[in-house]
Amino acid sequence: MGDAPIFTTRRSPSAELMGSEFVSFDEETKTATVRYTPPPSFASPRGAVQGGLIGGFLDEVMGTALLAATDGKLLPLNLDCNMSFLRMVPLETITATGRVIKLGRRVAFLEGELHDKDGNLLARATSTAMPTAVPGAGQ
């Protein structure tokens, strides 16, 4: 049928909210690249994305990486996530990369990064997650 892989098309309400646009997945390095455009409702009084909500993009791209690395079969159920905020995340399109560091049977280790349009690193995250079947898979 030539259906596009699930990780290129999956649009949950949360992915929709964050203006997610799939860019690419590199098999060799297990790295997914996705662009996001933060909605105005993510703005803090500083005029940038509220720190915690930056986790939304990082989680989403780490999830995309695991989904792509498992041919659309598994999504991470995050247990612990550690985020560092290096610069303000502006309310404009940003590029995110997510990578599967190790996929075990019970635990997956993931990492994510956000860059602005000039290539500056804005934020990074590492996550410990449980790989679980994609909800609604097989539909």
């Binding site: 949360s14 803090s44 509220q50 720190g51 909500l53 939304g56 247990l79 996530c81």
Partner: protein, 135 residues
């Protein structure tokens, strides 16, 4: 002092409502309402976005502890997701663990209304003048 957590776009999105602040324990309680747009195909709030609630509770705890003069600029946030966070009402407690001159340590917990703990976080931040003042 002005103390209106709903005055910001992101706080409105999360349905943020101030409840109380306890001086003795430096603990702030606030309510949220997780919106439908935060939901993933699992039917619960996307894990990363849970940090939005935790950040808000930690941030307001510090802001309130300074009588509104300062806000934390988060440098690092670590959070654990204990249970799926459903759409709808939530309660958060944010606490100032230590407020130094250059570094602040904060923590927060997120609950269902019945007291079931859903998530917890710690943060390292630096104090800055409140960007929301003077509006």
């Amino acid at each position: 002092m002005s103390f209106d957590p709903t005055a910001n776009a992101h706080a409105e999105l999360m349905g943020a409502q101030y409840v109380s602040f306890d001086e003795d324990t430096q603990t702030l309680t606030m309510n949220f309402c997780a919106p439908e747009v935060f939901i993933t195909p699992r039917g619960s709030v996307q894990g990363g976005l849970v940090a939005g609630f935790l950040d808000e509770a930690m941030g307001w705890a510090y802001t309130k502890s300074t009588d509104g003069s300062h806000s934390p600029l988060m440098i690092e946030v670590t959070f654990s997701l204990l249970k799926p966070v459903p759409q709808g009402p939530l309660v958060a407690k944010g606490r100032v663990v230590k407020a130094g001159r250059r570094v602040i340590y904060l923590e927060a917990e997120l609950f269902l209304e019945d007291g079931t703990m859903l998530a917890r976080s710690t943060s390292t931040a630096i104090p800055t003048e409140n960007p929301g003042l003077g509006k």
